[in-house]
Point group: C3
Chain length 663, copies 3
């Protein structure tokens, strides 16, 4: 377990450094990220590199028992570079170059920018690649936006040539007979600004992905050429940020990390859990929280501070979902610059801010449980599929303004989480063997590989959940020449006669336990069973005349023991919960703990050999609760954090966190 | 009566065509619009025209009894054109050219674009101008936006030179002594972006009108040079769309059509009737609904589907207001492209969608009543004046954000429509003889021709209604050097001492039947009678101190038997209804039917020789109603659609439509 | 006392002028502003000046007893200038030049524009500088926005060179090590568009100030070279408008004036008083209301008219706060142009509009009290500090979207005003001797001079109020290396452990008279006393865990008899009122009159020798009130406006204004 911060020693006179590092050690910190954004300090003049100061910082940290992660500084190109080579500036959709002085103004499409990025990274890698004090590298920082330059357009053309081979194939894929869009010259193809041909838009997002992957790969390869094998390479991604396909970029990294910020308001574990699970799913292994807010941020509309105790709860929540490290951003705010008011641990006066107190508790707690958590991992029986292709395609054409694909994923995630059933968030190409339930929320775009993956999964006895908008498009974002769920119709045993964006709620009648009727909202599909074996689990009541009495939910059992549940409507909460109960029962899903009070999470990490299970009991509320003890938490049990032994029931103080080891 | 669709055969392999046409015939369709947007298919390479496929499509339709309307494809210039001749691209107000891949990116101000447009239209006209299978032509598609290029600016200067002759005259007309705006060189005059001199802004809208009229005329003339006389020429306009003066463009067409879309929500016959009446008024003859939604659209914030039965009600509502054709857009969505999710009749699987069922009922119903409706027309006793000059001028300077001139027109239209009193929506220059009542809502800009027209109308015994904001400006959008209603003060017998945009409602006291007091909102004018004969019908209660006790409504009777009602305030619904009653009574207006339940419309079409009247009884609600039979619907009567005979009262099922012929 | 209007004789034929001037005289007007915006009339062709018409207008006014103020026309450069010298056009942040036809399109950064501005002003000054009929000059009109041209960027670099001497100093001041912002070449420095480095943003506002000051100074110097000493020079500013530092520009003027517009809604004397006080504070002397609305404006979302009587109340309210003149804008609207619908005194028909009637009453009233008010001035015991540096800095980084620094100033102003305690609004560098209380709302940025000023003030026995966000930054907008209130910690006896933008209200417990508890909102600071003498006046209740039980309000008495009140939270109204009571009591503040009904203002002006005090009793409501007579308004007293004598109590009719002289 790592606990640490992001430090910018270049903002401060060197005589201050020892005091900062002393305070980090006082907090129980054992890792520190540095060098990110320090390009102009490392290369103040073109070709003149100054890394001695960095080595001194690395050394100081090391001597205090703090491991170092080096960030490459390419998100902050220096003024001499963009001034001398203005072609390195990213062009905005309005045709104007970005200005120096914010971040990410260097274009990944600019060969000159890539060259200078490679050179500075090479200097760092030569100096620190063999350094035992440096445990890993972070590439750039929170990248992803597109460049709309003419150079980017030329590269887009080359990308498309490579992808399609001929304009005939491209015209066919994008259905360009429509609106005379046909291209007879690669150079005619625009970079899409605003709504455009859905095939072109999807390929543009793939091009942006390709561009950033190439940019990241240049840095990975440069570092790897010098680095000892133990140094890992990561980058810090941003949760649901969708400008590129994170699954593809993660392939070139050793580990994934992400930056977890709340902004205005407070932590909601029923949804933020999904963000950790998403990140864990990028490489299907534990991850780092590379940045998180020490109380508050500075960029939200209201930059409120987390409640006292909330950050500690968040820290353990992250660990419970697979985080092996947590770093606060940042150590101390520079006296100037855009983030003067961002939360940090050290005040303008160089002394601890109030939040420091809570960080110190977290550091102490982490130290207590670090050994017992080593090498443990998260295992779930449910997978929720998440595809950038499908998200992009839905967001290009929401059809109902409220059809937000992430919200729809939450629609499935939240009732599972509130029943203490964890889920992995995975790309649809992922190996699905071993999952009892696989849910594919709004998986609108399918590839042949994904179709085969899902067919195989069901054939092997898996329970697949399909939902509104599944299987409408092929990989070119082109309508399949059959009804939804397209190539999955056969295994689903049902097809969609028509879909309806709803301006009014529609009644849905079911027989799911005690629940007999509820409402669909935002979206409803009129289903038609394709097989005698298809069971109708629900149908629509009287509404717009088209849906009245038609099937809304179907279950198609397979001989494998598996089957496909098709859910035709976006259901309101009561129905969605009842459906979750049906799933739990049908698939014999195991919950971490039964009958847990609202707002309390029981999550677990498991040793690879299954010899031990670690139970995190987290009270995400500011009220007290009591949890009766029963399997798997049979008394007596001792909380590894507080050392308190529980013999009958577990008292949960506000924001309490307990960790129990069960063998 | 025509019933049909828009088909894009170029999106599909030719072997599919027969099945599509078979299904059209199955729906009872007898017209199909094709070729719109097919430029890149008709001219895939500059100067190489390929029309054989189009001829085969025309022939296939013809052989199945379906008449053809050809759309010219100029709303979708091909990529080779805009790439080779970038000066053909429309320039946006931000100075950037439009991108290829959406529509309407060709500039009507570009001589090159006009030339290539003419050439492709000429090819089509040569090939199909004498073709018996083609009954008419549609020019381009939904045009109207402005080009902000330097070329457009030069043409604007030429337009102004032609209009004013000298800069002295222009400076005088625009009152440019104000803010040192005076021009001493034509080249100094800008294209207005954002708020600008109201005279310049008005002339710019006239220039845009001029530009599109010229563009349309090039195509009309090109077609006419080859077409047999029976082929008519139209274009598809967009209801209240206001970027150009539709009256002027309609002059060069044989017939007008429009595209009727609801977007989010549902049909409100009390306002959509006005849209049909507007379109009918463009040429004062029956019109086509060239496009309407088969259930839903794809561009609204919520693309809900119409209720089952609602489209049929809408179809007959359009016919009752003078539509002689109704075409669904579109037949089938292309597999790709921006409108993949737009409503259509055929699904992605090539088979009928649920809406097809309702379209088939409409097709069958149209077939039953087609003969009896032939050559019948709509006749009304009320005209509502609608002027683009005035609408533009009010919208340039609303003065109260809620003073929407179209909403204010509805303010007059709705209470008439709910009393089954139809209205023609006409330009103020139209011949007004024969109307019992003429209403001029917010007719802010007047020409001498219009003044003379209204004076003559009243002199011949007509009842003219003037309202807030009438007669404030001359044709240069310049304040008249006298008070409102300017040159109509004398016939009005009243003038406006002051106008007030209202931040609070103001009481209005009247004696209109039972109604004694109500509220004015948005706007109120303080009136001063100019004649002893002027009667005060209402005055303001205590409000802002300026209006207290002052006249609000006046009636100025003329010796001709006619007179002028001046309404000084935007009245809330109760007062507006009471005033409508006063008008009905004063002008002896005839209603189509008395005491009709709310939501039911009784409208009529009449044979030219008055020998027959066709009564449409339309239940626009989802509830049942009963209509007692009395004059003019005396029993027994047989519904021409259902064949049912009514002997005592007419039962109206939800969304029922009946058609009765009365001789 | 001056009463007048803005007249644009160049809009009208000369034969109309005598009638206009006759009507002005009929209104009791004695001043008229002309020539503003008349550049194209004065110089219709480059270098050909025509001022005879202007001289005739001046003469006509003079002969009718109306003094003339001449406006320089540089806010409306003529088309020939911007067309021939396009480099004179201001460049917008989007990189596009402004268009001719609105105003303020000439760039103060363009040497060519400055040259032509100087030439036209010189012509005017030569002609009218010695003219007895002209009493003063107004420079340009409502200027302030920035030019984003390359020329402006070069001048910004020169400005920074002058300010910092070296890039080392600049990099240090802006803390550019952050995000690799360091500059090694002056040319690299951008003009900030959107959020940027806070130091750079603050200096850019100073550069804009510098630019406009230079532009204004060119005109001031040009006029002064020719003008007789009695002619004063002013410019018309815009209240809270914040694009430049008004204190610096005011230094070069003889007198300040401002344009007072309400827009939508009505006058709220508890806040508009602060606008007058702000303007009076710019030079610490009486001022002019150079423009105000004759009923309504034309640019608001709802351009409602003031209530009958409201304008008269506003006029006397302005005088009570130090206005020595009030001019209505404008006399008559031009027949065309963007402001056709703006309120004015003369209608489109050339005759008085209804508002004229009220203006005439005001004119008569002013005439009655002009002598008695001559040379009287406003004196207050409270100063509220207002700094453009601090306002800019807070607005750059509000941290809570609702932390509007002007609203926060009102937070202090309103409860004082409603207790009839006047306040001066002053720059923090102002001499503060003589004030009993000085309030520094959100004075985030401090200079050494200001620190010294406040320290001296307290040392001399003054009571200083510090608030949230005081003293966080130095003049480079850089965080002080100590906690808030930075260099004022010692005199405050308290420091801010942490600040909290609030997403929820927080309880604040106090003992201020009867008030024991209230709420803080938007912002709260956790205070730590630094001295035994610091008294805790309030602390926080249970909220976010960080603030619970911590000090919220402290009072640090000094031996001088003065002291510092530190208010840590933005308090809701009840608490703020209670705190105002505490201040009144602690500092023995005198109110103009006790126990005044809500909505009634009692304000005063005093003769320089204290021999006479003029009491304005203004009923800002539309209801009647009664004011008992007591010190200082002891019976009997005669209202100088109405001539009515009061013997027991003062009856206040709706919108009544009385003026009493007490010796």
């Amino acid at each position: 377990m790592y606990f640490g911060n992001a430090w910018y020693p270049e903002h401060w006179p060197e005589e201050r450094w020892p005091e900062d590092v002393r305070l980090m050690r006082d907090l129980g910190m054992n890792v520190c990220r540095i060098a990110e954004f320090a390009w102009s300090t490392m290369e103040p003049i073109e070709g003149h590199y100054r890394l001695d100061w960095l080595e001194r910082a690395v050394d100081l940290l090391h001597r205090n028992g703090i491991a170092v992660v080096l960030g490459t500084p390419t998100a902050a190109p220096p003024a001499w570079l963009t001034h001398r080579y203005p072609e390195t500036l990213t062009i905005l959709p309005n045709g104007r170059p970005m200005q120096h002085g914010n971040r990410c103004h260097g274009s990944p499409n600019s060969p000159v920018f890539v060259k200078y990025s490679r050179l500075i990274v090479e200097q760092m890698a030569r100096r620190f690649g063999k350094d035992e004090r440096v445990i890993g590298w972070q590439i750039d920082n929170e990248y992803g936006h597109a460049d709309y330059s003419e150079e980017a357009r030329r590269q887009f053309h080359a990308f498309l040539k490579e992808r399609y081979g001929s304009l005939e194939a491209l015209n066919e894929a994008w259905a360009t007979a429509y609106w005379s869009q046909s291209y007879d010259n690669w150079e005619e193809i625009p970079l899409p600004i605003g709504p455009h041909n859905p095939g072109l838009m999807l390929d543009f997002r793939r091009f942006v992905t390709h561009t950033w992957r190439r940019f990241q790969k240049v840095q990975v390869d440069t570092i790897r050429a010098y680095a000892r094998p133990e140094q890992w390479i990561t980058s810090n991604y941003m949760g649901w940020y969708e400008d590129f396909d994170h699954y593809l970029l993660a392939e070139d990294l050793d580990m994934v990390s992400w930056d977890w910020y709340i902004g205005t308001g407070h932590h909601d574990y029923l949804t933020t859990g999904a963000l950790h699970d998403l990140t864990r799913g990028l490489k299907r292994r534990n991850f780092w929280v590379m940045e998180t807010q020490p109380g508050s941020v500075n960029w939200a509309s209201v930059n409120n501070v987390l409640y006292r105790g909330e950050a500690r709860v968040m820290a353990f929540h992250a660990v419970a979902h697979g985080a092996d490290a947590l770093l606060y951003w940042q150590w101390r705010a520079a006296p100037g610059g855009q983030e003067q008011l961002h939360g940090c641990l050290i005040g303008a006066d160089g002394k601890p801010r109030p939040f420091y107190e809570e960080a110190k508790e977290i550091g102490a707690d982490f130290a207590k449980v670090s050994d017992v958590l080593r090498n443990t991992e998260v295992r779930n029986e449910v997978a929720i599929l998440h595809s950038y292709d499908a998200r992009w395609a839905v967001n290009f054409q929401r059809h109902h303004r409220d059809f937000d694909p992430v919200n729809y994923l939450y629609q499935w995630y939240r009732p599972l989480a509130s029943r203490q059933i964890g889920a992995d968030v995975l790309r649809p190409e992922a190996e699905l063997a071993g999952y009892r339930v696989v849910i594919a929320p709004a998986l609108m775009v399918l590839s042949e590989e994904v179709v085969q993956n899902l067919v195989t999964y069901v054939a092997r006895g898996g329970l697949l959940v399909l939902t509104p908008r599944c299987g409408q498009r092929d990989i070119h974002n082109r309508l399949y020449p059959y009804l939804q769920p397209g190539p999955l119709r056969e295994i689903a045993g049902v097809e969609v006669e028509e879909y309806y964006a709803l301006d009014e709620e529609v009644p849905v009648k079911v027989a799911l336990g005690d629940v007999l009727e509820g409402q669909g909202r935002i979206w409803a599909e009129r289903l038609r069973p394709l097989s005698d074996r298809t069971e109708i689990l629900g149908h629509y009541g009287v509404s717009n005349g088209w849906l009245d009495g038609r099937p809304a939910l179907t279950w198609h059992p397979h001989e494998s023991g598996g089957g496909v549940l098709y859910v035709g409507a976006w259901l309101e909460e009561t129905l969605q919960k009842a459906l979750t109960d049906w799933l739990v029962s049908r698939a014999h899903l195991q919950t971490s703990y039964h009958d847990v009070p609202e707002g309390v999470e029981v999550a677990k990490r498991v040793a690879p050999d299954n010899s031990r299970t670690l139970y995190f009991v987290i009270n995400h509320t500011r009220r007290s609760h009591t949890l009766p003890m029963r399997t798997p938490l049979r008394p007596p049990l001792t909380d590894l954090i507080s050392g308190v032994r529980f013999d009958e029931s577990i008292h949960l103080a506000p924001y309490a966190v307990h960790l129990f080891e069960v063998r």
